[in-house]
Amino acid sequence: MPKIMIVDDSMTVRQQVAAALSGAGFQVVEAVDGEDGLAQIAREKDLALVICDVNMPRLNGLDMLDKLRASDATATLPVLMLTTEGQPEYVMRAKALGAKGWMVKPVKPELLVSAVRKLTGG
């Protein structure tokens, strides 16, 4: 069962994503912001994908992605951004940092599950 991490400062969004993905057979772990995400990624084994918000306190999602790419241990960890941001400059920055995709909220569960299946082969 592929393990997915959702990083979002909204508990309701984390619950929604977790419900949608666990219902589709994925294992889900949660982090509350970019700093928490990095700390948990360092401890978690076998993460198949990280789904990450952009605007978060302490460390935003794009800066978190930048730090993941800067470490050999996490340079190739797949990351899907899930955010309210839709401006091309943000999307292009994420793509340049090696993100695998960009989803604009609100979460559409069927599209989320489809995207996660494509990105994890699950």
Partner: protein
């Protein structure tokens, strides 16, 4: 730039924010209807989400306020089955969290629309508050009027309280670039 042009900008903003609010709640299965503001203050709002924004031409705060029942009903379908109670402190915590996220999603919709009209907003992180009967401070811009929407479980009040550069004109971008739409997915 004239006073009339600033009024045009505010009229456009009210339209953008109104449509974004209705669409946001519609996406959660909640139908709102725009109504005339019954006054300057809500009378039953107990939860509000707030988020700041800024840009070269516009800065201010978005606030969305309503009742416990409306925010509970507007939760995503995946979590709406859990019944919440006004008697349970933890449930107020859930709804403050959701009100902050709704404010975030609403300002995001407006931001994406304004991007197409030449304005690049930067958004702060949202927050929320709750209380027995929320009252709102006088908007910083004396031209800010609340947008009010009706729902059986309570009115939804939205303020786009912005100081706007009098030289701002909203017009479609020359390069036709658009923001990625709500609910859309791009895989790279």
């Amino acid at each position: 730039m004239t006073e009339a042009t600033t009024t045009d900008v505010r009229t456009t903003l009210d339209d953008v924010v109104s449509k974004a609010t209705i669409a946001l709640f519609e996406g959660a299965g909640v139908t709102l209807a725009k109504m005339q503001a019954p006054g300057s203050q809500p009378t039953r709002a107990t939860i509000a989400g707030l988020v700041g924004f800024t840009s070269d031409a516009m800065r201010g705060t978005l606030m969305i306020a309503s009742t416990f029942a409306v925010f509970a009903e507007a939760r995503p379908a995946e979590v709406r089955g859990e019944v919440l109670s006004e008697q349970v402190a933890r449930d107020w915590l859930y709804l403050r969290d959701w009100a902050a996220e709704l404010a975030n999603q609403l300002v995001g919709r407006v931001k994406n629309k304004l991007f197409g009209l030449g304005v690049n907003l930067r958004i702060a992180t949202p927050t929320a508050l709750s209380g027995g009967a929320l009252a709102v401070a006088t908007p910083k811009s004396n031209r800010t009027k609340p947008l009010v929407f009706s729902h059986p479980a309570g009115e939804v009040w939205v303020w786009w309280d912005a100081i706007i550069d009098p030289d701002l004109e909203l017009r479609p971008r020359e390069d036709d670039s658009q923001a990625v739409g709500e609910g859309d997915v791009l895989l790279f």
